[in-house]
């Protein structure tokens, strides 16, 4: 099993030198902590910052400098500010190389649900619908099952959809999966997790072919 840090570490291995990356709130944000030494990535925050730096020290805090999660952050050399239309222009025009976000559900076709639970207060989609509709390279970081123990990898979504056919890769506490036209293809297993464990936790169509390597993080 991977913990949140483990999921973030595994996703960090997908980063490439020169990537512009948009990290969603939650586990995705942790990916920033595990950028490999030898590569250089630039974090995009759609509200208006490219080149996001770490949290400020107490002295550096600036109320006018926040990220898309409304957290106080800092700049780095080469950082640039812009308006939110430009922030989403970057996203819609495909200039962001990798988008990592959380999900409530993903189905076999790569549809994602992550913004609304009927009957509960709707907070809104923020930038999620723009991101999933536009990004060429989306990785979902999430727990394999929900708090009730039900699979979040489904044949069909039960929750309102955020975007269609957009998820290409999923990293959960149990495994790494690619979403292909055949369904969820099991690519790697978390340490101590068996194929059977993944099968039991996956409601959608799972493809298991050959030996499945263990995730190395």
């Amino acid at each position: 099993m991977l913990d949140k840090q483990g999921i973030a570490k595994r996703i960090a291995k997908e980063l490439r030198d020169g990537y512009y990356v948009n990290l969603g709130i939650g586990i995705p944000t942790l990916v920033a902590n595990y950028v490999p030494d030898e590569i250089d990535v630039t974090l995009q925050s759609e509200n208006g910052l490219l080149g996001m730096g770490p949290f400020p020290t107490e002295d550096e805090i600036d109320a006018d400098l926040i990220n898309a999660g409304k957290q106080t952050v800092t700049t780095l050399p080469g950082s640039v500010f812009f308006d939110s239309a430009t922030g989403f222009a970057m996203i819609r025009s495909g200039r962001v190389d990798l988008t990592v976000l959380g999900a409530m559900e993903v189905n076999e076709r790569g549809d994602i649900a992550n913004w609304k639970i009927p009957g509960k207060m709707v907070k809104g989609m923020g930038g999620a619908m723009d991101l999933v509709a536009s990004a060429q390279n989306i990785i979902v970081a999430m727990q394999h099952t929900n708090r009730a123990g039900e699979s979040k990898l489904l044949q069909n979504l039960s929750l309102p959809v955020t975007g269609l056919g957009c998820v290409k890769k999923i990293v959960t506490n149990l495994c790494v999966l690619d979403v292909t036209e055949r369904g969820f293809e099991l690519k790697e297993l978390a340490p101590g997790v068996t194929v059977e464990d993944v099968k039991n936790a996956t409601a959608g169509k799972l493809i298991v072919e050959g030996d499945i390597p263990t995730i190395s993080v």
């Binding site: 208006g48 020290t57 400098l65 819609r92 723009d130």
Partner: protein, 250 residues
């Protein structure tokens, strides 16, 4: 090729004269919001509590104007920003992308007192920009196949699906800038820029509150975010609280 006559020098003199003013400068927020009345649609700049027009919001709360439709990415928190207008039951409808930080908002929504239209954040930004650019409608992939697409035209371009979104229509846009000059040119600071320059372009009447109000010529013409032509009223705001929602430190 013609040469402008010597009268152009006179013209120059007039333009630079202090005697003639554009009269965009108003004394304070109370004066700036004159004309905003019940039932109007307002755009309010800011992302979360960052870059919101604090002075104007406080004046709107005092004015008790009601039945407003507010276009703003967020709805403030219970005791700050647009949240104060919600407390005063001044808002009929919110058009936003994320409204999760506000208990009073939730209460009014569940009780049916408040209507909400949720939009993807990028579409919200682009619909402001379109209004300011005289573009009545455009296509975006955001929301295709989702609830957001309901009632909207969808269309394929180059094998990809898009929905049509329309420019916002609003009576007033109210924005907060860092520096402004008396002609109405604006500069924003860091990520407090967010929706502000987009909404500044979009209002039938645009009100700007600024931390520093300077004379024309004091801002470098090469580095102005909102050209003066988009701004109708401007004033120097006071006592900015600049509340932080997520105070994260190392």
């Amino acid at each position: 090729m013609y040469i402008l006559s010597e009268n152009f020098f006179l013209f120059l003199e007039i333009l630079t004269s202090q005697d003639v003013a554009m009269n965009k400068v108003v004394k304070n927020a109370e004066e700036a919001i004159q004309g905003i009345s019940d039932g109007m649609t307002l755009m309010l700049g800011g992302f979360g509590l960052c870059g919101i027009p604090e002075n104007s919001i406080n004046a709107l709360v005092k004015s008790k104007v009601k039945n407003l439709t507010c276009i703003s990415n967020n709805a403030g928190v219970d005791d700050f920003g647009i949240g104060l207008m919600l407390q005063g039951k001044q808002v009929k409808k919110m058009i936003s992308s994320y409204v999760g930080e506000n208990a009073e908002f939730e209460r009014q929504l569940l009780s049916g007192e408040l209507e909400v239209e949720l939009l993807p954040q990028g579409s919200l930004a682009e619909r402001c920009r379109a209004a300011g650019a005289g573009i009545p409608a455009f296509f975006t992939p955001a929301g295709f196949g989702t609830e957001v697409a309901e009632g909207k035209e969808s269309r394929e371009f180059n094998g990809k699906q898009y929905i049509m979104e329309k420019a916002f229509e609003s009576d007033y846009a109210i924005v907060k800038a860092w520096k402004g000059d008396t002609d109405g040119n604006l500069i924003f600071k860091a990520t407090a820029r967010n929706f502000n320059p987009l909404m500044a372009m979009a209002g039938k009447i645009t009100i700007a509150e600024v931390e520093e109000l300077v004379e024309p010529g004091e801002l470098d013409p090469n580095f102005i975010h909102t050209p003066s032509i988009f701004v109708n009223r401007i004033f120097k705001g006071e006592n900015y609280e600049k509340r932080i929602e997520q105070r994260t430190i190392r």
